[in-house]
Amino acid sequence: MSPGVLLLVAAGCLVAGIVSGLRWPRTWLTLTVIGTAAALGASLWVLLGSTDWEWLSDITVGGERLHLRLDALSALFLALLCVVGASGALYARGYWSDRQFPVSAPRGRAWWSSLVLCMGLVLTLSNGLHFLIAWELFTVSAYFLITLENKRPAVRAAGWLYLAASHVGTLVLFALFATLASHNGNWDLGPAMREQAGLAPLFWLALFGFGVKAGVFPLHVWLPSAHANAPSHVSAMLSGVALKMGVYGIMRFNGWLPVPPAAGWVVIGLGSLGALLGIAFAFAQNDFKRLLAYCSVENVGVILIGLGGALLAVTQGDAPWGRLALAGALLHVWNHGAFKSLLFFSAGSVLHATGTREMSRLGGLWRAMPWTAGLFALGALAVSGLPPLNGFVSEWLVYLGLLGAITSKAPAAWAAIPAVILLALAGALALASFAKAGAMIFLGAPRTQTAMRAHECGRWMLGPMIALAVVCAVIGLVPALVWPVVTRAAGSWHPAWALAESPAPLVTLGLVHVALALAVVGVAAGLWWKAQTNGVQRGLTWDCGYATPTARMQYTGGSFAGIGVGWFSWILQPERSLRRLRGVLPASAFRQERMPETVLERVIAPMGEGVLRVSSAVRRLQHGRLQAYVLYVVAGIAALGCLVLFGGKP
């Protein structure tokens, strides 16, 4: 079965899903699963095969012929989209059920289908005009998914911020594609554009326009609130796949367009910055979905580091280490998609069980929801890039690429050395953040009543989580499996790198991982058994002799992150309000801490206020006095007259 047929089936199912989602949940679910499965089949056909799929039809839309292309790069992303799309659909059945959300659940299903469809189109369309259409439609459907719960002002604000930020990116893309079209004389996209050196400056437009969607560090302002306020399966989709659309755009267009020499340096710089600061922000958060969102900023940074390395390698004579960095980036796209979706799903089931995103209101949930706890722990290990899970594999590849640059003493080393060190810092901070998150949510004693009343989530939610966990584990244990796929994608990014054999000892790594996993199981079982045979007695946590500890005496997330936040307070700018105990009969003391989104609240908001001030000043001219209106007309004549008199010859 050729990918064309499969994609047709997929498209058909998804379109039907948009309609059926409003009425018939079961039909919708089956359709979505079938459709995503078909698309997955198509992308695997391309990835495992050796030829790309291309289709130039005679159907014209907007005066342009429909032109679909599925090469390895887009297939890699498409596969991820399918996996997350299907698992999200299954998860939503339990998480966003019609019983709980009679109004928004059907809409959510319809928009979900359209979102998946549009992202698939973005990945396959190879005509600028149609690409823009699909891109914008995908943005809009994502908006409606974010604001499913639009009764809540916070959700509306987050949704609007997302829409506004995306529109900035879209308009930049307008400029990008319009310039391309007016330069090429047609809207076709493709490797053919590589030859025209004149197009190099467009790289910056692409980096900005897609960077907004990808959440590249200074452009990530919309991301935390949107991911935190969206329904969790949507957050998973946004963070796992939608961000990757931006990454895809960046990769696509610096693969297809000539890049300016500075590109690699800038990208790797942005990546390192984003990796470190993103995770620093994450460490400081108290809302666990915001924490996950910032962590996505970090992971996009990691991807960009790899990509930047690859760009540098290309500009410095196709050095082989660039291939490793690119492979790492591509694989990290996949890995982040998997474990971040897993984490958002488990976050969702915590939210579902307790109704709060505040870590300081949770705790001790492992007893109520052991499965979620375990899966979250696994996801936390993966996202912290710890062996033997998938996160480590991709970061390891990126490291190898950078180390290759360093050991070969290429000029790129001057970017690679700081990148490696920042990446290591980011890794350590990620570990800290997720130790904090896991501990605050699942360990210790429940801090509030809501946390006490928590319950494990149903099988519709658990199933997808387990599936994603398996994906993480498999990629981690058998990394050699994914190498051919990744290298195919790398080849379609840069043909010179298409050769198949792996320069990295992935097989050995895989063996070590397997051995490690077995040893862990063995030793853990042994120790558990030993402890049981020696006898286990349960007792109160030792509390320095204070006999009645309350749950509120536990270490809080804020104090856990205190040291790290102190180091980054120059960018985090935490807002603290503190009332100490004073006097003989002290009033109740409290200490509150808020982590602002610095770039948004300290940089963009002031600029926006400036614009609004101008606007309100201008609006005062429309004061309703007719005499002034006539005066404006006269002024218009005068101004144009002057223009004609003096602007005569340029």
Binding site: T60, V61, G62, G63, L129, L132, I133, E136, L137, V140, T147, N150, K151, P153, R156, W160, L163, A164, H167, V168, L171, V172, F174, A175, F177, A178, T179, A181, S182, H183, V611, L612, V614, S615, S616, V618, R619, Q622, G624, L626, Y629, V630, Y632, V633, A635, G636, I637, L640, G641, L643, V644, G647, G648, P650
Partner: protein
Amino acid sequence: MISLLLIFVPLAGAALAAAWSDNRTRPWFLPSVSLVHVVLCFRLLVVPPEVAPDAWLGFDKLARAVLPAVSLLFFVCACYGVSYLAVRAERSNRVFVAALLAVLGLLSAGHQARHLGLLWIATEAVTLAAVPLLHFNGTPRAFEATWKYLLVGGTGIALSLLGSFCLGYASLHSGGSGDLTFASLMAQGAGLSRPWVLIAWVLLLVGYGTKMGLAPMHTWKPDAYGEAPGIVGAILAGGVTTVAFTAILRVRAVVGAAGEGALADRTLLAIGLFSMVVAALFLLGTRDFKRMLAYSSVEHMGILTIGAAFGGIGLKAALFHVWSNSLTKGALFMSAGNIRRAAGSASMDEVRGMAMITPRSAAIFVAGMFAVTACPPFGPFFSELALVKAGFGSGHVFAIAMLLGCLLFAFFGITRVVFGIVDGRPRPAMRTGGKRFVETAGVILPPLALLCFSLWLGLFTPPLLREAWEAAVQQLHPAP
């Protein structure tokens, strides 16, 4: 011949309607007459008639490129008008219907006028015929709006007359026989006296710009659109402004023939960008969704002007945008009218959660909002993208950057207002108070149809239309 019918059928209809006694059946004149108009118009679109070069009136290429859009818009508005007037059965619609039909006839005349004076008379007459439409609601606010419309518009009209005289006078200098058809004016070309042509250009640009609603002559627009019934707003924004735009285009052609095209384009670009900036700034702050539509219309007039300034492809994109903008705006005005009627107010301080009260209108309003802010797959996206492309093609990078910036701020303003009205929980008063507004097919289908037209226009632009725009560009920028 048919081109004359386009004018006289509606006028006759107007006369009949004025004479018609029954208030309940009178509204049916609107759809029936405009249906005839649409049919004739599209017939002419398909089989363009021969126009004698010295004819004063004629369905020439420019009229062919624009008038069908107006006719289509008017027809849909007319269909909406029936159900609208049924809702407003308490007041007599004699004047309203007659004036509306007269407007249609005069619009056709204005689009087809190939003579400076005739064009001016038609525009003037449209202005006057629109007056009773504006104060149909009969509220003091409506009268104030009408008064401002009349005085600012009148001033503009007077200026455009003065400009016409100047142009005529310029033509006398090269021994012109005082024949003021655009064809002969263009034929005189460089013979026209330069100072008088330039004065004429400024005056005509300001005069017709006032009708079109270009900043800073736009001041009447928010008041008029804010107080007039939805369809009137739609016809003003989609029809009357279009006449003014075509007028400017015709004059621009003459100025170009006189060898001052570059200068004229620079002025067009300047005033267009200024309009966009002003509109964007106003949109950022406005809290009334009908006034918002007015400012958005100002913005789109700016876009049209900028397109005209780019010349060639840009002009073609502008003509495309005339179509997509009129149709989309129509949908917005009608759905806004529904919401306004259901909510009893147009201010986002008082209106909330209309998605629950008037779900269909709200959905159309949101869709139209996305359409008018150039989100695909609706018409404006394609036309504006073509315009941006043309701008880059002709090297106006700075202008395009500014245009995109204005589009961005306009988007911020518009989405803020629209979502503020559609989302959230409705005020309890709105759920219970007053007589409920029913979303009948009559008030839902017309805007829906317009949206579909806009969609179809963008996705599957008929080659016929492309060819028509192409021809119009040829007429205005004759290849030397």
